[in-house]
């Protein structure tokens, strides 16, 4: 187990290195000159040149990359061009809302999607199945912002049940914190929910056709036990894998959701940085998100052994 974990971590190193290269290259493919961006719009060509040399932007790309990556490895993601704050501090300030939305969304989506997928598979071919799958494909197709705005319109503006926009940190009390999360989580969660529900149904259909399910029925076991213990445990790994892959889509969705609900999270931070060409922030955020994705999927790989005794590391 430990050996396997280390092996997988080692395999993640080249992946992260390539992510770093792509991230680094982003700054150089564009039509915007980083040095003049940093110098500001009022800078003279001489000042821009001075900055270029001071930042090492005149050196060969490989040289620049090595020194930048070295700094990143030592935990220094650079400073924002905009407000001169270290990128990590900026991210730290904004992480709470983003993490809250992401975690609650996963919980919300999984808690609903798995039972829905199981129900659809168990009733395959009936109206229950058709209804659930129709809802899933609709939820899967509707843009996050449409769902978000409709929810705001209905629940915040018309019914005045929930806050329209914004975010309240957990430190300010659990009530307001949760109330501000409800709509973002639901609108972001629908896509994720649909994804998992479809995967759950497909996997369960396959599992329910297996011989051991027939054996379980021949033993006189009840439906609940067959579905939950015998079938779902076998279907768990593909479902968990989908959750892992879905995390990438979820992160993209968080960016849009934060804009719809005016939540000051990492998504907003990224958009603001992109619009203002704040390279260190863009690079830092992309690197951190990618690292999170890689680590989450590694954790998911390791979790396979939990559900399936045939997998040994």
């Amino acid at each position: 187990m430990l050996a396997y974990t280390l092996k997988r971590l080692a395999a993640a190193v080249p992946v992260m290195l390539i992510v770093a290269i792509i991230t680094f290259m982003l700054m150089h493919i564009g039509s915007v000159d980083p040095a003049s961006r940093i110098a500001g719009e009022l800078a003279t060509p001489e000042e821009v040149e001075k900055i270029r040399i001071a930042m090492g932007l005149d050196r060969p790309l490989l040289h620049q990359f090595v020194s930048w990556f070295g700094q990143v490895l030592s935990g220094d993601f650079g400073t924002s061009i905009l407000n001169r704050m270290p990128v990590l501090d900026l991210v730290g300030q904004r992480i709470e809302p983003t993490l809250s939305i992401a975690l609650f969304t996963i919980v919300f989506a999984v808690a609903l999607a798995v039972p829905m997928g199981v129900l659809a598979a168990w009733n395959a071919g009936t109206w229950v199945d058709h209804l659930i799958m129709a809802l899933a494909v609709i939820a899967f197709s509707m843009p996050v912002f449409l769902v978000g705005y409709l929810l705001i319109y209905q629940f915040s503006i018309e019914l005045r049940l929930l806050p329209v926009q914004g975010y309240k940190p957990l430190a300010g009390g659990v009530g307001p914190y949760l109330r501000h999360l409800v709509l973002p989580v639901v609108s972001l969660g629908l896509v994720f929910l649909a994804l998992i529900a479809r995967m759950t149904r497909a996997t369960m259909l396959e599992v329910l056709n297996q011989d051991y399910i027939r054996t379980a029925r021949a033993k006189g076991l009840g439906n609940t036990r067959i579905l939950v213990l015998h079938a779902l445990k076998n279907a768990a790994n593909p479902i968990v894998t989908t959750i892992g892959f879905g995390i990438a889509a979820l992160i993209g969705g968080v960016v849009v959701t934060e804009t719809v609900f005016a939540i000051p999270g990492i998504g907003r931070l990224t958009i603001d940085a992109v619009i203002r060409r704040d390279f260190p922030v863009i690079q830092g955020v992309i690197l951190l998100f990618s690292a999170a994705y890689v680590l989450i999927n590694l954790a998911i790989d390791l979790s396979y052994a939990l559900f399936d005794p045939r997998i040994r590391y």
Partner: protein, 332 residues
């Protein structure tokens, strides 16, 4: 004759597919007495497995349906029971062993878990008692180190071992009837003999009635007292084992026997095993008359128009053929 423990009357199980109705089992009547071993023989696709699933009421729905008939366990009609009542019967009064030991056990649950859940489901005993019972059952099916096996998973065991566990599971609640659907087909020949011997032994010791479904007449000869031969969803012949082997009446039965190697008769002087020409007819809109007519050397006009009734041609020997009066040696 004493009242049978399991009585199947006029059973018809059909599959309603997009292309039409598949008559997998058509008007089948048979019975098993207490402690008796009945063999059901036929090629794959002849309806023998559907028969067994019908008895368990596990025919794949919604396409498959039992459309007619009665299945009585000690006089109680299983088809009239609710699904909940039926669950009390499955694994308890009637249990089943399947063909594929490799896939019939749940790969993610331990052997112990799978044994114990059956026992607890039907016996309402404590976990500790169920564990003890499970270990005893493993010992009964001659599995070494049962305590250790309880904690292992199916993939850690060989095919023969897994089939022993299936047998242990099937006998765990002292069923009245055990249905074994091709229990040895997927196993090595040497293991086959062991498993059959084990089943016969347990059957005699525990007095369980056994329905053995197989395509292998040799297996039937070794294990069963009575045989039913099925062809294309219908029963074509029924007799005591010895009687059937000595005096097969239906051309299909004769064909089956001719296609089987005989140890004492040998295959010497360049003789080939006989095969039955042709193919099993489609069960979708089967032709009228005898379903074997298309492959039968003795078929006449009557055979292709009228369905032959089952007639008793000897003591406890029934045949559905228009030509049972024909000389017995015609097939050879």
């Amino acid at each position: 004759m004493e009242t049978p423990i399991l009585q199947i009357d006029d059973l018809s199980t059909h599959f309603f597919t997009r292309d039409g109705v598949v008559r997998a089992v058509d008007n089948l009547t048979c019975h098993v007495g207490a402690g008796e071993a009945l063999g059901i023989v036929g090629e794959s696709g002849c309806g023998k497995s559907v028969t067994s699933l019908s008895v368990m009421r596990l025919v794949q729905s919604p396409s498959g349906r039992i459309v007619n008939g009665a299945i009585r366990l000690q006089g109680r009609d299983l088809l009239a029971l609710s699904e909940k009542e039926m669950r009390e019967i499955r694994g308890n009064e009637i249990s089943m062993i399947f063909q594929e030991p490799m896939t019939s056990l749940n790969p993610v649950l331990s052997i112990g878990c799978q044994l114990i859940e059956t026992i607890r489901r039907h016996r309402g005993v404590s976990g500790k008692e169920a564990w003890q019972r499970a270990v005893d059952m493993l010992r009964l099916v001659q599995i070494p180190e049962p305590d250790q096996r309880m904690r292992e998973y199916p993939h850690q065991l060989s095919g023969g071992m897994r089939q022993r566990i299936m047998i242990a599971m099937a006998f765990a609640c002292d069923p009245k009837v055990l249905i074994a659907d091709e229990p040895t087909t997927a196993l090595d020949v040497t293991i086959q003999a062991q498993i059959l011997a084990l089943m016969s032994d347990l059957q005699k010791r525990l007095g369980t009635a056994v329905v053995l479904i197989t395509h292998d007449l040799g297996v039937v000869a070794e294990t069963c007292q009575r045989v039913i031969v099925m062809y294309a969803g219908r029963k074509v012949e029924e007799a005591d084992v010895g009687d059937l082997f000595d005096r097969p009446r239906h051309p299909y039965t004769k064909g089956l026997m001719a296609s089987m190697p005989h140890l004492h008769r040998g295959l010497g002087n360049g003789q080939r095993l006989k095969e039955i020409p042709g193919m099993v007819p489609s069960l979708l809109d089967p032709p009228p008359g005898c379903r074997f007519a298309g492959r039968c050397a003795h078929a006449t006009a009557l055979c292709t128009t009228e369905e032959p009734p089952l007639t008793e041609t000897g003591p406890r020997h029934w045949v559905a053929c228009w030509h049972t009066g024909a000389p017995a040696e015609v097939a050879q």
